[in-house]
Amino acid sequence: MTAARSLPTFTIAFAILYLLSVEFNWALFTYHPALEEFGLLAQKPKDGPAMYWYGWIATSAAGAFVIAAAASRVPAGSASRLRSGLAWAVPLAAMLAFVYILRGYFTK
């Protein structure tokens, strides 16, 4: 598979990893905005809120990059149509999962 053909794989992996990162707080780093400090991995809040969003993106992007790079070494086959479909279906499923996870905000 060429590098360009592995881009849908990146998208699929990114959506799954991002959902998992948020759910299990797999932040590669934490930002403490009140202190303007970064810390490695998920840390507890210090003197104000902790922001994990940047760390979740970093975790997901790094993981998806590795998976897409590995997928680019697999010969292109009949799975390419499936991969194209999953490239929109998996992010859509992740969006619906976030709506479900955050439903409490809309039912209070």
Binding site: A4, P33, A68, A87
Partner: protein, 154 residues
């Protein structure tokens, strides 16, 4: 400085909204024959020509959003929580996650729209564009609601 960045973020979002809306209409409701009306000309746009601009605008808008996000986290979200504005807080949480999923979709989006357009990717291209349009519209509306929230529910 944050206000200036917020305004720039909003202006880029307007450009992005226009581009993705034109592309989505162009790909889902293409015009056939001569397009003379306003709507007809909108449907007649060359959808593919928007792809790179949408990627650049999405990246710029999201980057600016990420830069101003700490100020929101420290100064706005706390107020929303104190005012018990739950759905507004939830709407922003959804925006945050939708925008991130959209970022991850951009590589596949670029691949689906790269020239020459592949016929076998037409469905994926159309659905991916519609999903990005949904994300961008949601983010735009939520951003505006939160920007004005203290004016209408305080």
């Amino acid at each position: 400085m944050i206000i200036a960045l917020l305004i720039l973020h909003g202006l880029l979002a307007v450009a992005l909204l226009g581009a993705i809306t034109h592309q989505t209409i162009g790909v889902w409701l293409p015009a056939h024959g001569n397009a003379e009306s306003f709507v007809g000309r909108m449907r007649a746009v060359t959808a593919a020509s928007y792809a790179n601009a949408i990627i650049v605008l999405y990246l710029l808008t999201a980057t600016l959003g990420a830069i101003i996000y700490p100020a929101y986290r420290l100064n706005v979200r706390v107020v929303l929580e104190q005012m018990q504005l739950y759905w507004q807080n939830g709407a922003f949480e959804l925006k945050e996650h939708f925008v991130t999923l959209g970022l991850g979709m951009l590589p596949a989006y670029w691949y689906f729209w790269r020239q020459p357009l592949a016929n076998e990717l037409a469905r994926a291209r159309a659905v991916m564009t519609a999903l990005l349009a949904l994300i961008i519209w949601w983010s735009f509306v939520v951003g505006h609601v939160l920007n004005n929230v203290r004016g209408f529910e305080s």
